[in-house]
Symmetry: C2
C-alpha cells in the first residue's frame, strides 16, 4: 500500500504554489502536453494493447472494450482538446463582484482555484488527459484514480503529461496518479478531508453511490440521466418527432439521451403510430403504458421500474399523460433531475414546465442531447452535476473555481 | 421517535410549491411574522424562563445563559431582522447569465432555491427566526433542529412564525421544527439524501464535526475562526495598534475576532511594548513566543496548541516572525481559513498576502471583525463558510440559492 496521507499532503502543498502560476505558463504547458501526446502515441498504444489483451482475457463486453480502445485518431483528439483548453479564458483571478461600503472598505470577490481535486473514474483513458487539462488550466492540483481495466493506458498517458508539466515549470506533485489499483486506497483517499477539497466520481451508478456514501470530502456528481421529453397537445408534431428521435437515437449510450417519452393524451392517437414506427425502423425497443399499447400494437408493457431506468441503449419507455401537470409530476417522481424537455406552442405550458421541473437543464422545443459543456459554450466539461450545491449541469473551468473576498481598508475598525 | 423520513418527504414536497410563491407574498409573510413576534413576546418570554430555570438547575455557564436569555429588546431585534429581510431583493428567478448559441438556442442560467435546508444549532433562540426568515425569503423549505437548552423558547418562537406563515398562504410543511430532542433523530436526518438538499450546522466545533462526519447530505460550515493579524515592518504602527485592538477586544466571543497576532521582527521592539500594555489594560491575557517574552516581561509562554486555539475570550497569542512569508506559512499551518489581515504600507507585501493566504476573507489594513453578512452589504447572514465549495465567507440570500439552465429552442436537434 502507498502512503495515501503523505501523497495528499504533497499534492495539497503543491496546490498552493500552482495557484500562483500565471496563465501564460499554464497555456504553454497545455500545448507542450498536447505535442508530447502525439510524439508518444506509439508507446501509449503499446500500453493500451496490454489493457485490451487483459480485457479480452477477462471477457469484458464490446461497449467497454470500445470505450477502452485508443487509436491514433483518439490520441489526436485528446491532444486537440488540450490545445482547445489552452485557448479558453483563464478563470483564476477574475473579479466577480466589487463593492465599496459606506465606511470606505472595498470588497472584491475574486475567483480562486478550489485547491486539490480527486477524480475517480472507470475505463475511458481520455478522461485522464481531459481532467488534467481542465484542472491545470484552473490551477487545481489533481489526484487521478483510474480503473484497473485501463491502468496501463492511463499510466502511459499520465507519465507523458506529468513529464511535460514538470519540464515547463509546473510545481512537482501538482499532478498525481494512483498507480496501485487496490480498492482500499479509495477508502483511504475519501477520508482525507482538509487535504482534498473536492471529489468527482465519473462512471457507473454503483461506483458513484459507493463514493458518495463513503466520502467525508464534498462530492459533485450525477448518478444517472433519466431524461424525458414531453409532447404537449399544442406541440408542432413534426418538430416533436424530430426532437424525440434525436434525443433517443443520435447517441443512446450517454447521460443526456432520452429514456422516457411522455405524450399528451389529446395528440397520442395522431402522434404515436408514426413516431413509434420511426423508432422501430431505427431498432429502438418500445416499452409502453396501457394506453400506448392500445394505440400501437405489439408493444411490451413497461413495468414500474422501467420509469426510473437509464437504459443507455436503444430502448425507450413511453407513457401517455393527461396534461402538463401529470407530465411534471411523472418527471419529478421518476426522473434524475438531469435534462428534461417540453415540446409545445403553448407559452403558459412552457412557462409552467420550466418553473416546476427542477432539473439541471430544462428545455423548450429542443433535444436534451445539448446538455454538454461544449454545446453550452463552456469549451470543455469535467462532468455534469445533478447536485444543487456549488455547480449544476455541465461543469467547465468556471465551475472548477471557488472564490475569496479581498478587503482593502485604510485602518477601518468595527464600531 | 417521530417518523423522520415521513417528515422529510412532506417538507420536500412543500418545497416544490414554496419555490413558486412570489416575492410579494413572501414579504407580506415576513412582516406578519415580525408583528406576531412582538404580539406574542410575553408568551415567548414565559417559555424562555422555563429554559433559563433548567439552565440554572443544570449549572450551565454564564456565557451560555446570556446567549439563551430573551428580553423584550432581543425579541424586538428578531422582529426587526424579519422586516429587514422583507426589504432585501428576492434572489429567486434572477437571470445570472444569458447566451445565444450559434445554432440559435438561447440558454438562461437562472437562480432557483436550493430546496430543503436542515439547520442544526445550539442554544441561541434568535437563530430560529433568522433562519426561518432567510430560508423563506429565498423560497427554501426549512427543518430546524435546535438544542435542548433552548427547546421551550424555540418551540414558542417557531409556533408563532409558522402560524403566521400558514395564515398568509405559505404551503404547510414549508417550515418544520423537530420538537423531540432525542439525539438519534439527528443521525436519522443526516441520511435523508435526496429529501434534504443542504445541512448547515451552527454551534461549537464538536457539534459541527459530528454532523460533517455523519452526514450523507452536503454540509456547509466553519469549524472555528482562528483569525490572524500580521503587522508588517512597513505598517503604520498606530493604525496597526487600533486594528489589532479592535480585532481582539471589541467582541472577543465571535468567530471573526483575532486569536493570534503576528509581528515582523523589525518593528517588534517598537510595537509590542505599547500594544501589549494596551491589551493588558483591557484585561487581555497574552501568550507569547520566545522573542515576544524577551521584549515584554511577565508574559506566559505560548504552547504549540495555542497557535491553533480559538479562545473566544480575552486571550491572545503573539508571535514574532521574520517576514511576510513566515507570517503566511504560520497562517496556512495553524489557521482556520476564516479571516486574516495584514497591516502594511508595502504594496508588494499586501499583494503577496492577498494572493497566498487562502482564507475566505483576506484583509489589508482593516479589522477582521468586518467578516459579517451585514458589513459585506448582504443585509443578513445565515452563517459563515470556510468551505471552498458552493459558498465561502458570509452567506446571505444569494448563497441560499442554486441555479438551473433554461434552454429555449425552435426545434434544434444535435448533429
Amino acid at each position: 500500500m502507498i502512503d495515501v496521507k503523505d501523497l495528499c499532503l504533497k499534492v495539497k502543498k503543491a496546490s498552493r504554489r500552482l495557484a500562483l502560476v500565471d496563465a501564460k505558463t499554464k497555456n504553454k504547458v497545455l500545448v507542450a502536453m498536447s505535442k508530447a501526446l502525439i510524439k508518444n502515441a506509439d508507446a501509449i498504444m503499446r500500453n493500451n494493447e496490454k489493457d485490451l489483451r487483459n480485457a479480452k482475457r477477462n471477457h469484458l463486453g464490446a461497449a467497454l472494450i470500445d470505450r477502452l480502445t485508443l487509436t491514433e485518431t483518439r490520441i489526436e483528439s485528446m491532444a486537440e482538446s488540450l490545445c482547445q483548453i489552452a485557448k479558453l479564458r483563464d478563470p483564476v483571478g477574475e473579479i466577480i463582484e466589487k463593492t465599496r461600503r459606506p465606511n470606505g472598505l472595498i470588497i472584491e470577490k475574486v475567483r480562486v482555484p478550489i485547491g486539490s481535486i480527486l477524480i475517480i473514474y472507470e475505463s475511458r483513458p481520455n478522461v485522464t488527459s481531459d481532467c488534467v487539462g481542465l484542472c491545470l488550466k484552473s490551477s487545481n492540483a489533481i489526484i487521478l484514480r483510474g480503473g484497473s481495466e485501463a491502468i496501463n493506458s492511463n499510466i502511459a498517458i499520465f507519465d507523458v503529461l506529468n513529464k511535460a508539466a514538470i519540464e515547463h515549470g509546473i510545481p512537482p506533485n501538482s499532478l498525481a496518479f494512483i498507480k496501485n489499483t487496490d480498492r482500499r486506497i479509495v477508502d483511504e483517499l475519501l477520508i482525507q478531508e482538509g487535504l482534498i477539497d473536492l471529489v468527482m466520481p465519473r462512471g457507473g451508478e454503483s461506483l458513484i453511490r459507493q463514493v458518495a456514501k463513503r466520502s467525508r470530502i464534498p462530492v459533485i456528481k450525477h448518478y444517472k440521466g433519466v431524461c424525458h421529453t414531453y409532447v404537449d397537445d399544442s406541440a408542432d408534431l413534426e418538430m416533436a418527432e424530430d426532437i424525440c428521435f434525436n434525443a433517443k437515437v443520435q447517441r443512446p449510450g450517454v447521460c443526456n439521451a432520452m429514456e422516457t417519452m411522455l405524450v399528451n393524451v389529446k395528440v397520442a392517437h395522431q402522434f404515436l403510430p408514426r413516431m413509434i414506427q420511426r423508432f422501430r425502423d431505427a431498432g429502438v425497443e418500445i416499452r409502453g403504458c396501457g394506453l400506448t399499447r392500445r394505440i400501437v400494437t405489439g408493444i411490451k408493457a413497461a413495468t414500474e421500474s422501467d420509469w426510473s431506468t437509464e437504459y443507455l441503449d436503444l430502448i425507450l419507455s413511453v407513457k401517455v399523460v393527461r396534461d402538463v401537470d401529470q407530465a411534471i409530476d411523472h418527471i419529478m417522481k421518476y426522473g434524475s433531475y438531469h435534462s428534461d424537455a417540453i415540446v409545445t406552442r403553448n407559452r403558459a405550458n412552457a412557462a409552467k414546465f420550466l418553473a416546476e421541473v427542477d432539473s439541471a437543464c430544462v428545455y423548450v422545443n429542443a433535444s436534451t442531447r445539448f446538455t454538454d459543456g461544449g454545446e453550452f459554450g463552456k469549451g470543455a466539461e469535467i462532468g455534469i452535476s445533478t447536485d444543487k450545491l456549488h455547480a449544476r449541469g455541465p461543469m467547465g473551468l468556471e465551475e472548477l473555481t471557488s472564490y475569496k473576498y479581498l478587503i482593502y481598508g485604510k485602518g477601518q475598525i468595527r464600531k
